[in-house]
């Protein structure tokens, strides 16, 4: 890569427009460095660059990580800038897929400056940083979504597209939930490496604690270990994690259970029971919702019904989690009370609608009586006018 090309790559990486006026690479780097976390800490060019060599000032890619690690691995040195700062990045990098290859002299893999930038490095919590949570996936995608670049390593370029269609990307990019997982949440940052079959559940369990607990206590755990099946992945996939639906439980398409189970096999009864219970609970909640909305539209107060309905929904959410126990009893213990409160909510709605009917019927009867009274009154008025006409 010649110097001009390196400069262009650098400017693209740092999102700095390189002037077409023939600005030198050194000038571009100097400008970018003005807004660099290192510059604000008092470091200068010579802190990283020893001096011009046969390659100019540029560091050979293979030397970048050790050079960064020299300071970032030194607890005493780093403490003066931030007492809480981590110092294990370089050690982790050496355990990563990137680091291992780089150690063998293969400089095609990522090093520190590929993700963080070279000049104009910003803190991770700075939203402009290429490794800020919302920018991590696009940063990884620069290499991992490039089929040509991935081909020599035998890697698919699909993960970024798959992740972009996942619930995690939706949470992070659309809802701006910075706690939602992106590439480094599951793969690690500096020690980035694909989790092994046995490690996937541990990765997911970082957030999905209850589901993981239930799974580990379930009969599935031993079976999956025996057949070498990655736990969560079997039903949820890896990068393209979609919104699970209740239709996933069952023995017919599109149920994920049907991938391994059929009507004759082990667990068919449990699956059918759970499927029916989930269906009943969903129907009860939908029915209660419709009745409560009708009652409320009619002007009735159904607060008790809404309280029960919320309770029913909570039970539904917990029941969906209880699916991970892969057993009928714990699921039923959660779903049955949910069904009861949903039915109670519906009863409140029906009672309110019934009350409304009684009110309207009462009003109808009262109106008939009042009309009778008004007619009588009208005749009385006519008779008094006839007896004593206006003078």
């Amino acid at each position: 890569m010649n110097a001009r090309a390196s400069g262009l790559a650098l400017s693209w990486l740092l999102a700095i427009p390189l002037p077409l006026t023939g600005q030198s690479i050194e000038e571009g780097a100097r400008l970018a460095f003005q807004d660099d976390v290192h510059a604000s800490a008092g470091l200068t060019c010579s802190s990283c660059h020893a001096g011009p060599s046969s390659r100019g000032f540029a560091l050979p890619r293979i030397e970048v990580a050790p050079r960064c690690g020299k300071c970032h691995g030194d607890a005493a040195y780093m403490r003066q800038f931030d007492p809480q700062v981590r110092i294990d990045q370089y050690a982790q990098y050496l355990t990563s897929g990137h680091g291992k290859r780089m150690s063998t002299g293969d400089s095609r893999v990522a090093t520190c400056s590929d993700c963080h930038g070279a000049h104009g490095v910003r803190r991770v919590r700075d939203p402009r940083s290429p490794v800020a949570p919302v920018n991590v996936a696009p940063t990884c995608a620069r290499c991992h979504a490039d089929a040509v670049r991935m081909a020599p390593f035998g890697r698919e370029p699909k993960p970024f597209a798959d992740w972009s269609a996942s619930v995690h990307a939706e949470a992070l990019l659309k809802r701006r939930d910075a706690s939602a997982p992106t590439c480094n949440t599951c793969h690690g940052s500096h020690g980035a490496t694909p989790p092994g079959v046995n490690q996937v559940a541990n990765v997911c369990a970082q957030c999905h604690v209850r589901e993981a607990e239930l799974f580990r206590a379930s009969p599935k755990k031993a079976i999956f270990e025996q057949i070498g099946q990655a736990e969560c992945l079997a039903c949820h996939g890896n990068h393209r994690i979609e919104h699970p639906t209740d239709a996933w439980v069952g023995l017919k398409d599109p149920a994920v259970c049907a991938t391994c189970h059929d009507e004759r096999g082990n667990g068919a009864t449990t699956i059918t029971d759970v499927e029916h219970s989930l269906g009943n609970l969903n129907r009860a909640i939908a029915s209660a919702q419709s009745v409560l909305e009708r009652a409320e539209r009619a002007g009735m107060l159904v607060d008790d019904g809404w309280t029960a309905q919320r309770d029913g929904r909570e039970h539904l959410i917990h029941s969906r989690v209880m699916v991970h126990a892969f057993a009928a009893k714990p699921f039923d213990d959660m779903a049955r009370p949910g069904l009861a409160v949903a039915q109670q909510a519906e009863r409140v709605g029906h009672d309110a609608l019934h009350e409304l009917q009684i009110r309207r019927r009462g009003l109808g009867i009262a109106t008939v009586l009042v009309l009778g009274f008004l007619v009588t009154l009208w005749f009385k008025i006519r008779s008094v006018h006839a007896e004593r006409p206006p003078r």
């Binding site: 309207r360 009262a366 008025i381």
Partner: protein, 363 residues
């Protein structure tokens, strides 16, 4: 004891014979504008409904920020016929304001404020203001979100008054902000001070109406003078009272129907820390003032815009109070009064409609 003996026994102890005799001889003018005479009686009837339903609500209502909303919800959902009583109270309040305004404009258009009825007019005008004060103080009592923020806006208006602005706001709110203290304060005004004042004024108003009789519009008087025939009349008892009873029965049925088909909603409980919902607005009878304030620029002729509006409305109220005392009884003067009344009515109606269309509250 026969009925006659019972009557004379009662008359000896409660001597009201001359009063009932006067009522028996009282007459009501009968002409093409007579229908307007019923607005006063209708307003009085609705006030009676308010007193009755208000007394029933008092049995369960709790005037504190912690319990007001819950107690109204309890009335609406648990107390037998509580929903009916509360809805009738709320609907009747709105209807009462409407009939009171109808009564005011009918008096203006029929020129019934003329000598010697100036004090009757003043007492009626003050009664209308007190009726609106009833609405304002009662609106906050359910302690829901809409009423909370509408009261905050309503009391804020007073802040622009020169010299007494800050004091007025503190007086109404019982502090700097709308809090539980405001609720307790407005409750006290709503159930004790205003009813006492209104009852006294109604007594004066009715006494004066009784003494002066119903006013006949100048145009009808002229026709009678020209034709040489006296204005026709009908007996107050039982003719006029039966007509009144007819109207009241219809009003009561209308209130029951509104309560059954459109129960007065309670909304969400007030949360002083929540942001004000979009499109917040006061009750419809204050909407024309609210809308005028919204369209007023911050500064007008170097003065605070809000202050200008409040000043103009205050001046108009003052003119309304005193004009019967200074007006000459000429046809041209009557035309000017009618013209001004039409202008005011059109302006208030237009602004109210605009207020309804422009600022819809967010549920």
């Amino acid at each position: 004891m026969t009925t006659g003996q019972l009557r004379s026994w009662l008359e000896e102890r409660v001597p009201v014979g001359d009063l009932t005799e006067a009522l028996r001889h009282k007459t009501v003018p009968l002409h093409r504008h007579s229908a307007w005479y019923y607005f006063g009686g209708m307003t009085l009837f609705l006030f009676g409904i308010q007193v009755g339903t208000g007394a029933l609500l008092l049995l369960y209502y709790r005037p504190s920020a912690a319990e007001a909303y819950e107690s109204v919800r309890f009335i609406m959902t648990r107390v037998p016929f509580g929903w009916l009583v509360r809805s009738i109270h709320a609907w009747s309040a709105n209807l009462m304001v409407a009939t009171a305004f109808g009564h005011l404009f009918s008096v203006l258009f029929l020129h019934a404020y003329r000598r010697p009825r100036e004090i009757t007019w003043v007492s009626g005008l003050v009664l209308l203001m007190l009726t609106m004060a009833f609405g304002f103080t009662g609106y906050l009592l359910p302690w829901n979100q809409l009423s909370f923020f509408a009261t905050r806006i309503g009391t804020d208006m007073a802040a622009s008054l020169p010299l007494v602005g800050e004091f007025s706001v503190r007086l109404m709110r019982g502090g700097k902000e709308v809090t539980g203290a405001t609720l307790t304060r407005l409750f006290g005004v709503h159930v004790a001070i205003l009813p006492a004042a209104v009852t006294a004024l109604i007594a004066l108003h009715l006494f004066l109406v009784q003494r002066h009789g119903m006013s006949v519009p100048p145009s009808v008087e002229d026709e009678s003078r020209r034709s040489g025939r006296p204005v026709a009349s009908m007996p107050f008892w039982p003719h006029f009272v039966l007509h009144d009873l007819f109207g009241w029965t219809v009003a009561l049925t209308l209130l029951a129907a509104l309560s059954a088909y459109y129960p007065f909603e309670l909304g969400l409980k007030a949360d002083p820390f929540a942001p004000a919902p979009a499109g917040i607005r006061p009750e419809w009878y204050f909407l024309w003032i609210f809308q005028t304030l919204k369209y007023m620029p911050p500064s007008l002729f170097g003065l605070n815009g809000e202050l200008v509006v409040i000043g103009v409305i205050g001046a108009a109220a003052l003119v309304l109070l005193v004009f019967p005392f200074v007006l000459s009884e000429r046809v041209r003067t009557f035309r000017i009064v009618s013209g001004m009344a039409v202008l005011a009515l059109v302006y208030m109606t237009l602004m109210t409609i605009v207020g309804f269309v422009v600022s819809r509250p967010t549920p």
